[in-house]
Symmetry: C2
Subunit: 310 residues, 2 copies
DNA sequence: GACGCTCATTTGTCCAGGACAAAACGTTGA
DNA sequence: TCAACGTTTTGTCCTGGACAAATGAGCGTC
């Protein structure tokens, strides 16, 4: 009945592995039956006990699954082969501008206040738009990749996130005016843990003259539709990180499109939708933060045309 | 294979109920076997389909479980009887100051910018300390209770949370100095979704002259220990909402206490620990936000005594 | 009355292995 | 390039039995 994982190098129960890897118990068992991996030992009571290396491999598999690879192909491979695949899909480490190098250094040495100062300076120096698109976005990606390569730990990513969030929220508070068109409702779907993408989008939307109403993270679908109506939003914008399960994203977008009145636009952005082949009808995919400006322009054009020629 | 919950009044699959209620599939099935509740219908494929009312009742049961009651007693009861129990454990609805009434009205009518203005004014008028302890805290509880009674919807709570968060973060940014004693690391455990408690604590800690480093929500246990060492924290402060599973809280706190060097204090606060009978040795429970000041004072006393008489 | 012990009961998790829908894939034809 | 269709892969759900851990009750001791 003990559930939680404990000592550093202890072997884990099936529940603990479920938590660690995000793979359900059913999946862990059925993989073992079908592919022969994982092949946990058993304790005295016949319960599965997963050695650390297998958990590591499972985590790798999980990441590659999220990138569209399939279990039947991945599970027979060795940990090394999986590592190679992973490197390929991450791509070459891009050469860094100096300031990004500095930021990564500050993250790795936990110099949070210095990091925040650098970021704040960058906002003032470059302006919010360039800060978001050229500093924030790339940095976020760098940190994410460094985490995947195991170069930084979770808490270091958290420290980084907090600093960026503080700077961004401060900047947004300054520029957001009371009114504007269109009125944009921002949020993420349940399960999405990452909020920086949303915050960056809010910054750019505000800069482009839209009125932003953020619901924060993880709003249930029904509530998104209800909120859009209640706040009389023109657009509903959703942010997806790269880890968000692709199936769930597509399914939820379909449901949401159906639940939403047709005149309310449904836009989405982030690593999730950019990797998707095709989105449901009536769902618009923003191509990066830079795509927000042109998209808004087009929306306003269409709107004024519709108003002028009824 | 379809998983996600959908239309407003649709009945839910076992996976959806697991997500909604936090009760595992195994538990849902074994309760049905043992107590005859829940008693879901079946779809064409023989899969369980849970009507809304049963999900509602399960949610109630879940809450009461977290308060120390036991399944064998709760499950045979009717929804009404459970409601009575719930009311008892919530306590009488406290009479509201007028300003809280106004805030609740603004929440229910989705007047977000008005709400934010009111909150900002309150900060300036009453000072941050009184704002946090006398406005923010009680309001948060009111909103939570209103949600439990079904008076407000999830998205309305989200809108509220965003406004409070914005105001709090703005205020914290202004007061937080670079140094101070003790150095406090703040976060929540994985699974904790609510961040306002943490933010309020950060505000009070900062006001009391401590140096705050926030890790944001949901930091894994191992990373909390690592972060405390890396940032040379004096205290690790964790926030728990009332929904957080009591068992998990106690178990995690034990683990954490063991993983942390003894000279680093482990403090916790929020609805979770306040209801707990007894916490693990070496874990200190803050009694509300007002408890932070005295606790810090005592910590500083103990510290200076230890330094003076080595 | 506080504490420690044992024993019975309650409760959550785990297991096995079968079943089946939905997603992904591959092929064909327009 | 796209649509339609059969095949394979894959995740989730099912049943019902087993058992350890948590809880509570009863009892004796300090």
């Amino acid at each position: 009945m003990s559930v939680v994982s404990l000592e550093p190098s202890a072997a884990l129960s099936i529940s603990a592995v479920e938590q660690e890897t995000g793979l359900s118990k059913d999946v862990l068992r059925v993989w073992e039956r079908r592919y022969g991996f994982p092949c946990p030992q058993r304790n005295t009571y016949g319960e599965r006990v997963y050695p650390d290396e297998q958990v590591l491999k499972l985590r790798l598999v999980r990441r590659l699954l999220d990138r569209g690879l399939r279990p039947g192909r991945l599970l027979p491979m060795s940990t090394e082969e999986l590592g190679v695949l992973m490197d390929q899909s991450i791509g070459e480490a891009t050469p860094l501008p100096v300031e990004h190098d500095l930021a990564m250094y500050l993250v790795k040495t936990h110099q949070t206040s210095e990091l925040r100062r650098e970021l704040s300076q960058a906002v003032v120096r470059d302006g919010l738009y360039r800060f978001v698109t050229q500093t924030c976005g790339p940095l976020l990606q760098l940190v994410g990749e460094a985490w995947m390569r195991g170069e930084i730990r979770v808490f270091e990513e958290h420290l980084f996130t907090e600093q960026v969030q503080a700077v961004l929220r401060g900047a947004i508070a300054q520029i957001s005016g009371p009114a504007g068109t269109p009125r944009v409702l921002l949020s993420t779907l349940p399960g999405e843990q990452h909020g920086l993408g949303l915050l960056m989008a809010e910054a750019v939307f505000s800069l482009e003259g839209a009125e932003c109403v953020s619901l924060g993270l993880q709003t249930p679908i029904g509530d998104l539709a209800a909120a859009a109506l209640a706040k009389q939003a023109d657009l509903l914008a959703l942010s997806f990180s790269g880890n968000f399960p692709a199936n769930q994203m597509l399914e939820s977008l379909s449901l949401l499109r159906a639940a939403l009145p047709p005149q309310i636009g449904l836009w989405c952005g982030g690593m999730g939708p950019e990797r998707a082949r095709r989105l449901p009808r009536g769902v618009f995919c923003l191509s990066g933060l830079q795509g927000i400006g042109p998209a808004l322009e087009e929306w306003r054009d269409a709107r004024s045309r519709a108003t002028l020629t009824p």
